[in-house]
Symmetry: C2
Amino acid sequence: MAKEITPRSTDYAQWYQDIVKKANLAENSAVRGCMVIKPYGFAIWEKIHDQLDRMFKETGHVNAYFPLFIPKSFLSREAQHVDGFAKECAVVTHHRLMNAPDGSGVIVDPTSKLEEELIIRPTSETIIWNTYRDWIKSYRDLPLLINQWANVVRWEMRTRLFLRTTEFLWQEGHTAHATKGEAVEETLRMLNVYAEFAENYMAMPVIKGVKTANERFAGAVDTYCIEALMQDGKALQAGTSHFLGQNFAKAFDVKFLTEDNNQEFVWATSWGVSTRLIGGLIMTHSDDEGLVLPPNLAPIQVVIIPIPKPSPEIDEVVHKIMKNLKAKGITVQYDQDMKNRPGFKFAEHEMKGIPVRLALGQRDLEKNEIEVARRDTKEKFTASLDGIDETVAQLLLDIQENLFQRAKSFRSQKTTKVDTFDDFKALVDSDIPGFISAHWDGSSETEIAIKEITKATIRCIPFVQEEEEGTCIYSGKPSNKRVLFAKSY
Amino acid sequence: MAKEITPRSTDYAQWYQDIVKKANLAENSAVRGCMVIKPYGFAIWEKIHDQLDRMFKETGHVNAYFPLFIPKSFLSREAQHVDGFAKECAVVTHHRLMNAPDGSGVIVDPTSKLEEELIIRPTSETIIWNTYRDWIKSYRDLPLLINQWANVVRWEMRTRLFLRTTEFLWQEGHTAHATKGEAVEETLRMLNVYAEFAENYMAMPVIKGVKTANERFAGAVDTYCIEALMQDGKALQAGTSHFLGQNFAKAFDVKFLTEDNNQEFVWATSWGVSTRLIGGLIMTHSDDEGLVLPPNLAPIQVVIIPIPKPSPEIDEVVHKIMKNLKAKGITVQYDQDMKNRPGFKFAEHEMKGIPVRLALGQRDLEKNEIEVARRDTKEKFTASLDGIDETVAQLLLDIQENLFQRAKSFRSQKTTKVDTFDDFKALVDSDIPGFISAHWDGSSETEIAIKEITKATIRCIPFVQEEEEGTCIYSGKPSNKRVLFAKSY
């Protein structure tokens, strides 16, 4: 089974596809660019959903649901937004089918043409701000801290499972505030929630920063992001949080009565992460044997395999172990399948990235022992059956931490300061380019020129860095800090 | 506040709309027939979702996600299905917008016309069975027990918040089995899950039964349903579970290798409930003062109001009560708002249907007492502060049970055996017609004739009833059991 995976060193893109397929995460559907998220892949999304939802609620947010459809004219209301989103999208033009007169099947009923076409939401700022106009009258109605879990559609030309699909699942937070300061604070609060989630749950280290004007969300004043480095040295934008200023309030005429009796436009934020995170999870931790999942997001954290097959003695001990693990909140599965041999099962569970494997045979029982294998390092050791639940609980913590440290150390190794454009180009063209920290003159022209020549883009202007005088690698103009370049997904 | 609600006796439909609006559950959106589910309404849907999801998982199901879009041709594959669903639906014909040459906004790019139109899923049997073809090869791949939480679109001409909207949220289970017996068993298992959920969580009594051929799901061999009676004497179909036979397997060529090495078509079921349940919840329990929620689905179960406003002494006791209630898994809110008076708050929380209200003032503190009010009966009593958490926990159980018994007793009162068509017509035309139990000759012609004359339909042939010889109320032909008629939503 494992040998069907293309090694990462041979073809990283193919390896990625193999993992998604062999670990049963997702597949392409009959509809171009849309994926089917299979049960195991969806179980990971459920873990992501549940944890993020908890974090949103802890920070005072509530969920709501807005329509799938957006009237075409709404997209034109906000000048920048229309350029960014009124492009590749699914357009509903009719609302009825009818039997073909020649009996050949069904056809679109031409009399059912809509007066105004509807767009499947590519993002919901417009329909939501059109709704907020009625919800916000006074400062007493603010802040409005609302999140939505939904599907969205962006008609992508080149798609890749999880990373870029025509339809994807996401959450989009849309908040409304009385002051600029509060809105900026919210934008950063949610960026920090994303960073905390990425690092503590996905075990994926991220750089927090702000996007350049060029890479900003269409309609935002500022776009903040978390950027992660994948094993192939490309960056993944893992989440964005936008300070929208009063742009959407102005476009949809959302004003409120201030405490001192003035009418003012409302301040806005929006922020989102999507099923793309599953792509990031795969490309941060997995290896040539299959998926590697951090325990905090693994649908199954521990699998127990009877050697060579179930028996009443083994079953009895296994059920005791399972009971103790479950009491600790650990999800565990007992693989009682009779058709396959242990070796096959080992490979299968490695493929699925289950963090800890326990194997128990008759001889182990006699010695009061059990074999423990960890997926991240593939190390095996023998542990006493006494307190095995404690051993496993501690091991899960160790694996979570090890995955994070391993990814962080990879990122340090693959983050390079570069001071000349020749070095820059050489690095971008190398096998695993990574993050490139370089001086930039701050102009969009330079940014675009560098992108055209090298395909590398400015991923962000990191929050944390030293001020440092230097000269732009491309234009030679003065610069006072470095920005982070990379090729990206 | 409360007086803005139209009394039920004046205009039930208007009362319903008032409740949905005043309790902040949902509202119509800018898109015809599509609703915005507001945070409080969505919180109820989250409770419904979470509980049903647990019950699905306990019965062995997993979640997955299939595309929003269905190629038009898929709908024609199953002969009955196409008649039922290839009618009023949203049709995507293009995938790009462009700036209008005259600068007037955006228009559909005519060059982006799709080769084959895509339908927004009205239900997902077709796209799912097209996918299952690749997933099911042998009996070892069966059963497949998959559920999806999703939005669906049916282009309705007349819509009503929650009860009938163009877009709605639902879950749809789609299972695949090796034998007919297993599939039938699954169909009934899920019907029972729905009934258990309706009765134990929604406190809404339901009748389980089978639909007539006429009311069957398009593509099903048999449709089972749970039917509930609303306060205005109309029935609400609250959930359906379909035995699909081999219809979709044949339409999408899904065969499997049996244990004895034959190729056979797979057996199927599908089952679903939707945001419509929230409409049922409202129309089962609520009154002229607002929403009434069963404790098991109330986002906030208990609200505490300081009389007349917060004070350090009151706050201290309230926080202790809250801590104890939370430890019992009870959700509680402390209304510390300083702007509104207790009377206003009382009305507001009644409107929202919070099951239990506690009110605590300085004089209560001195007497070591607290005022307890239950939303269902509007009774108030004074309880000791000692063990108030126990008192409240017990009261929540009582309210849950009382709501169920009250609805059940209403249903018994409003279920009438009728033996002549004149009595039938008179009853259907009365104020609160209710369920009408009558003999029917089993023919579609009779069923349709009765519907045309009276607008009443056969809600189901109940599972539980005595065999009884009689004659059809309409045709006078012999019949051996009664069926349940009603006007319905």
